[in-house]
């Protein structure tokens, strides 16, 4: 696995931040200058020295797509972490593919291009405008760096993207169509990505001087989500293949489900149809061959908007569990914000890290659990400090604009079974 998150680049830093509840949300002077209502955001602290480890000087020339930077860092790290290397032969590796999603790519590069074009200077765009702004730029980039010859594509399903990618990779591998797939997702930083959400007035405006407290999933004082950015990446392969290679196995994907609420029955472009959410969770459980009672930890979508209580209600109904019987539940958006298209993959990586750390990572900024949530589940189910716990089954869900849902079931891997 690999990660490039606002509160940690690389698995080691990211894990430490999750255990300690270190926030990656900071005040962004650029957003203040531009008169944003919400002037705080989560942005991975990438520096020039780091870039030199992943990109050649030529690749860095004119590189103005933060999503590609984050995606390449997370993707290349995941590949190396899985014990795989770049293809140095002249033949594509037909069994290795990429499913690496994004919502929109290279927004700053696109802005550059728009200015040049509007000035009548289209000839000055150079050769990298297209590859940095096409949605599939990230999978194309990674596919070229690694020499993959299987499917190389970019999926896009708003904030569901990253979790959808895990399920798409799982499906393709279980169909026997690929041996290893690098899956993940990335999301650009900056005002041109986040502005639309600010305009929708779904970002909090009262924490500009208090960035680390701004993102408050499940809290009574939650005022909206904090925009974030970054990338997460996972290498997926069949258990047989991973065992044969002696690869480090973090977890098994038991199954998952993707669906849409059709923007019907309370669902809309921006709100979920609860029937679809519950169905997605139930189907993921049955596809995984487990029962709802087996789920010990849930990592929710839980963005810190008024919809958090509805999400808890949907989980509770789908699982048929409430009060103290409800699983532990956490949201990492308290520390990383809502990384949009990158949210699912960053949070899948974080969810899985809980297995090897034997810890359930804590929720921050929700000491004041929302009363509507407390009326459904026990306050004990919402860890405010890390809990030492050897989980076997973790469910992760992501929901997105367009009324789209994804739920995946992870199982801890024990080498002796």
């Amino acid at each position: 696995m690999g990660v490039c998150a606002p509160n940690g680049i690389g698995l080691t830093n990211f894990t430490q931040s999750l255990i300690q509840g270190t926030s990656g949300i900071t005040h962004r002077p650029q957003l203040e200058k531009l008169g944003f209502g919400c002037q705080v955001a989560g942005e991975p602290p990438v520096n020039q020295a780091m870039l030199a480890n992943y990109f050649t000087p030529l690749e860095l020339r004119g590189l103005n797509a933060t999503g590609i930077i984050y995606g390449v860092i997370a993707g290349m790290d995941a590949w190396a972490d899985a014990g795989l290397s770049k293809n140095t032969t002249t033949i594509p590796n037909w069994d290795q593919g990429i499913i690496f999603g994004t919502g929109i790519l290279g927004v700053d590069k696109f802005r550059e291009a728009i200015h040049l074009i509007d000035e009548g200077n289209v000839r000055r765009l150079g050769s990298t405008s297209v590859i940095q702004t096409m949605a599939s730029g990230i999978s194309a980039y990674l596919g070229g760096l690694l020499g993959c010859g299987n499917q190389v594509t970019t999926n896009s399903a708003a904030c569901t993207t990253g979790t959808e990618g895990v399920i798409m990779a799982y499906d393709r591998i279980s169909q026997g169509k690929a041996e290893q797939i690098l899956t993940g997702s990335c999301s650009d930083s900056g005002p041109y990505v986040w502005g639309g959400f600010d305009a929708m007035r779904i970002l909090p405006r009262t924490y500009n001087d208090n960035p680390t407290q701004a993102s408050r999933p499940m809290s009574a004082t939650a005022g909206g989500f904090i925009p974030g950015s970054g990338a997460g990446a996972l290498v997926m392969e069949s258990l047989e293949s991973a065992r044969k290679r002696g690869a480090r196995i973090y977890a098994e994907v038991l199954g998952g489900e993707l669906n849409s609420g059709g923007q019907l029955g309370g669902g809309s472009m921006t709100a979920p149809n609860s029937m679809a959410v519950q169905r997605c969770i139930r189907k993921a459980i049955s596809n995984a061959g487990i029962s709802a009672a087996d789920i010990e930890v849930v990592n929710g979508h839980l963005t810190a908007t008024s919809k958090d209580a509805l999400e808890i209600e949907n989980w509770s109904k789908a699982l048929g569990r409430s009060g103290k019987d409800f699983p532990y539940i956490n949201s990492f958006k308290g520390t990383v914000g809502h990384c949009l298209a990158a949210a699912g993959s960053i949070e899948c990586v974080a969810s899985i890290l809980q297995f090897q750390e034997n810890t359930i990572f804590k929720n921050i900024n929700c000491n004041d659990l929302h009363p509507d949530i407390e009326s459904i589940i026990s306050v004990q189910c919402v860890p405010r400090e890390p809990i030492s716990y050897n989980a076997s089954i973790i469910a992760k869900a992501s929901f997105g604009f367009g009324d789209v849902n994804a739920c995946v079931i992870f199982k801890s891997y024990k080498s002796d079974i």
Binding site: P57, L58, R61, G62, R124, G126, S127, T128
Partner: protein, 84 residues
């Protein structure tokens, strides 16, 4: 600007775009950008833009078509500079 100075400037522009298997010492005045130096056609577009910036000139489409070798580039640069 002397021809040698122009050549060095051009070399410094071109070296950034060389693939891993081509060394900067392989750049000769008669080198063909694509055939000898293995520079891909997309990057040739970027070399043209860098040349425009470095010499403060503007290259037209027909100039780009004629710019096959290092010598071609130097000749075009000379011609453009003399028109200024």
């Amino acid at each position: 600007m002397e021809r040698e100075e122009k050549y060095q400037t051009l070399k410094n522009i071109v070296k950034v775009y060389l693939p891993e298997d081509v060394d900067v010492t392989d750049i000769k005045q008669n080198s063909h950008f694509m055939e000898n130096l293995n520079i891909n056609s997309a990057n040739l577009v970027d070399i043209v833009l860098d040349v425009e910036d470095a010499f403060d000139i503007r290259l037209e489409n027909e100039d780009m078509d004629q710019m096959q070798t290092v010598n071609d580039a130097l000749a075009i640069i000379d011609a453009k500079l003399s028109q200024k």
